[in-house]
Symmetry: C2
Subunit: 213 residues, 2 copies
């Protein structure tokens, strides 16, 4: 299944790491050089966090190139490094590649073309069996999804966060046969980008700032 004992074990703790991490924080060093990612290799340097945050765009069109399980596991694991209230880690994931199943998912959204065209979809759930506080749990899932989107971008892949499909949440949960406690939060459609995007736009900070006191 991967996780810390899987693809991360070499990179986070391997003796061959040259990048150093942040020893003053006691954090393990990291390396993600030369890892296979479904036929592509990610850049040697890696993007800085700030580059990833500002450059990331929604990608809705994908090449037929596959995204293999190790890359998907890396993305999911980085999602789980989001903070959560009392570290309850309330997220659950379902990885969907089967064309017939993607077809049934696609029936539940107006973005069917995106789902059908993506080699992998990740359905993200809030597991209400792990719930601590609904608002904080939903925030945590949002933080988890953002980590995954940033990881996807860093890896040279592309994705779009699909929320419109929540209008048919119950149907999606039935199609995917998830436990009753699992509530659909989003579907991430993921692959190698087949489109180039222009820079995004945001309101000026002044419009978001209530004040300084």
């Amino acid at each position: 299944m991967g996780g810390r004992s899987g693809f991360f074990s070499g990179g986070l703790h391997g003796k061959d790491d040259q990048r150093g991490g942040s020893p003053e924080l006691g954090a393990p060093p990291l390396s993600h050089q030369d890892r296979p990612l479904g036929g592509r290799r990610i850049t040697k340097k890696g993007k800085t966090m700030i580059e990833a945050i500002v450059e990331r765009r929604s990608i809705r069109s994908f090449t037929p190139d596959p995204v293999e399980d190790p890359a998907v596991d890396r993305i999911l694991t980085l999602g789980t490094w989001a903070p959560s209230g009392l570290n309850n880690q309330p997220w659950k994931f379902m990885v969907v590649r089967d064309p017939a199943l993607k077809g049934r998912l696609a029936e539940q959204t107006r973005y069917s073309r995106v789902i059908l065209g993506a080699p992998v979809c990740i359905a993200v759930f809030l597991d209400n069996a792990q719930s601590y506080d609904r608002v904080k749990d939903i925030q945590a899932v949002g933080a988890c999804i953002q980590n995954m989107l940033l990881a996807i971008h860093e890896m040279g892949l592309g994705a779009v966060w699909l929320g419109e499909i929540l209008k048919n949440r119950a149907a999606v949960e039935a199609v995917l046969e998830v436990p009753e406690t699992c509530e659909l939060m989003a579907v991430i459609a993921l692959g190698h980008p087949a489109e180039k995007k222009r820079p995004g736009s945001r309101k000026p900070l002044a419009d978001c700032l209530l004040g300084r006191k």
Copy 2:
């Protein structure tokens, strides 16, 4: 106020940038070398996104060193680069430095020591006047907060996401005199770290993976 026309204008679009960004995506280049951050300078290289995600820890103890407005604006602006449903950008921020006001905030949480010890607190709100879909809006605020926590870590600063204070949400909103449409989502206490943290822990990925189909 800052924003794209403030501290970002030189870094994102300056001719002196050598780091390149990702021109194939049409994104503006980035530079955050040699920017003053309340008496510290951030690293020349910057952390990779993946380093930032895995290394970030909650920091609850701070030195007396200040964090000036340009650094706070950078953090807030990176928060606003989170995705949101229909790009509605439903977040609002209040920056709090005043010791008397922090004292009144501190009365609303068991983590009063953290708030009193932080040179800056950022109160984060969902502006229900911007609302599109409550679940998706709360997820977007979570993604925004995660961007800010990653930015803070990249900048060599530290922070903790305080959620417990939501138990006294109405009192905090009254103390901060925010518009009626603004609903408290979290308080981020921010400063220069005065503690070193051990690596965090997460469940194995297998515990979060419902299946592969």
